[in-house]
C-alpha cells in the first residue's frame, strides 16, 4: 500500500469520504439524455457566478459616487478585470436561461410528480432567487440603463393594489432611487439571495440524492 493510499485511508476512516463519494456520485441513474445535464449546469453556473462575484467585490464599491468609476477601473485598469466581469455578466444571462430550460425539462418530462413534489417546489424558489439575482445585479453598475431599468422594475411592484406604493418604497429604500437603493440591492445581491440559494440547493440536492432522478417518460406513462 502506497503512502498516498495510507494517507487517504487515514482520512477515510475518520471522515467517511468513500461513503460520501458513493452516495453522492455513484448513484444508480436510469438511461437519460442530455436534457438531464441542465441541473448540474445550473449549479456549475451558480458556482461560477459565486467565484467571479467574490472576485468583483475586491474592487467594486456600492456607492453612487464610486460604483460606476470602480467598474470602469475593473474594466480598464485591473489585469483581467474585463474577463472576470465579462464572465459574471454573461454567466448571469446564461444562468437564467439554463435554470429556465431545466424547469421546462422537469415540467415536460413530468419529473415533478410523486415523490418529487418538494424538489419541484424548492426549484420554483431557486428560479425566483435566480431572477432576483438578475434584477438586483442589474442595478449595480449604476449607469443610465441600470438606473432606469430599476426605476421601471420597482415601479411595476408599485402597481400592486393598496400595498404597492409601500412595496415600492421598501424596495427602493425611499420614494426615489438613491444611495440607499444601491446599498440594499448590493446587500441582497451578495448576501441574502446567495444564502437563500445555497440553502435551497442543499435541500434540492438532498432530495435528488435521496429519491434518485426520474427516467425519461415512455408511451405507457
Amino acid at each position: 500500500m502506497s503512502t498516498w493510499q495510507k494517507l487517504l485511508n487515514w482520512f477515510d476512516e475518520r471522515l467517511g469520504l468513500t461513503t460520501i463519494y458513493s452516495t453522492v456520485l455513484d448513484r444508480k441513474v436510469p438511461k437519460v439524455n442530455w436534457w438531464f445535464t441542465l441541473g448540474s449546469a445550473s449549479m456549475i453556473l451558480f458556482l461560477l457566478q459565486g467565484v467571479t462575484g467574490v472576485m468583483l467585490t475586491v474592487y467594486y464599491v456600492p456607492s453612487p459616487d464610486h460604483a460606476y468609476d470602480s467598474i470602469n477601473y475593473i474594466m480598464n485598469e485591473v489585469a483581467f478585470g474585463w474577463l472576470i466581469r465579462g464572465i459574471h455578466h454573461w454567466g448571469a444571462s446564461l444562468m437564467v436561461l439554463v435554470v429556465f430550460a431545466h424547469m421546462l425539462r422537469t415540467f415536460y418530462f413530468g419529473a415533478f410528480k410523486y415523490p418529487r413534489e418538494l424538489t419541484w417546489i424548492t426549484g420554483v424558489f431557486l428560479l425566483l432567487c435566480t431572477v432576483g439575482m438578475g434584477f438586483t445585479g442589474y442595478l449595480l453598475p449604476w449607469n443610465q440603463r441600470a438606473f432606469w431599468a430599476t426605476t421601471v422594475g420597482t415601479s411595476i411592484a408599485g402597481a400592486v393594489p393598496f400595498v404597492g406604493e409601500f412595496i415600492n418604497e421598501v424596495l427602493r429604500g425611499g420614494t426615489d432611487l438613491s444611495a440607499l437603493t444601491l446599498a440594499r440591492f448590493f446587500s441582497v445581491h451578495i448576501w441574502w439571495l446567495p444564502a437563500a440559494i445555497i440553502a435551497l440547493i442543499g435541500v434540492h440536492m438532498y432530495m435528488i440524492i435521496r429519491l434518485g432522478i426520474s427516467s425519461v417518460p415512455t408511451k405507457e406513462d
Binding site: 475586491v58 464610486h66 468609476d69 485591473v78 489585469a79 483581467f80
Partner: protein, 164 residues
C-alpha cells in the same frame, strides 16, 4: 493488463484528464491571481522636476514661499495634496530649498523677518535660515532638498519632487 509494457486505457485517461485539468486550472487560475495582485504591480510615477519659476523672482537672503500641488490617483480616486517650500537664494545664486512642514507635528511654519527665523504656529518652534532648530520641540531641522535635487536651467529654478 499491468503485465504489458504499454499504458492501459484507464491509465491513459487518467493522465490525459490530469493534464487537461492542469492546463485548464492554469488558464483560469493565473488570470485570477493577476486580477487580485493587479494594483500592486502598477508603478505610479510621482517623482518629477517641479518648476519654481525664474530665479530672479526670489530675493537674495529672504526665504520666499512657493506653493504647489501634486495629484495622486489611487484606483479611480484622485487626491490633490498641496506642498510648500521656502526658497532661500544666496548671494552666489545658489539656493537652499526647505520644506515648510514643521518636523514636530507637521504644522506649516512661517518666516518671521523681524526675528529672522521660521516660526511654527502650533508650538512656537523656531528654525533658522538654514532650517536648524533654534528652539521648541522639533526633533530635527526642517527637511531640505539636497543639492542634486535642485537645479537651475536657463535662469529657472527646479526641484526634484519625491513622495515622502
Amino acid at each position: 493488463m499491468s503485465q504489458t509494457p504499454h499504458m492501459g486505457r484507464r491509465e491513459f485517461v487518467q493522465l490525459v484528464t490530469g493534464f487537461v485539468g492542469a492546463v485548464m486550472g492554469a488558464v483560469i487560475g493565473l488570470p485570477a491571481i493577476g486580477y487580485l495582485i493587479s494594483p500592486a504591480t502598477k508603478r505610479r510615477q510621482s517623482e518629477a522636476w517641479i518648476p519654481l519659476g525664474p530665479l530672479e523672482n526670489y530675493p537674495v537672503g529672504v526665504p520666499t514661499l512657493f506653493n504647489f500641488t501634486r495629484s495622486k490617483v489611487n484606483g479611480w480616486e484622485k487626491t490633490v495634496n498641496s506642498y510648500g517650500v521656502f526658497v532661500v537664494r544666496h548671494p552666489d545664486d545658489s539656493v537652499t530649498v526647505l520644506s515648510n512642514v514643521c518636523t514636530h507635528l507637521a504644522c506649516r511654519v512661517n518666516w518671521v523677518p523681524e526675528n529672522q527665523w521660521f516660526l511654527c504656529p502650533c508650538h512656537d518652534a523656531q528654525f533658522g535660515l538654514d532650517g536648524q532648530v533654534l528652539g521648541g520641540p522639533p526633533p530635527r531641522p526642517l527637511d531640505s532638498y539636497t543639492q542634486d535635487a535642485v537645479k537651475i536651467e536657463d535662469g529657472n529654478l527646479f526641484i526634484f519632487f519625491k513622495e515622502a
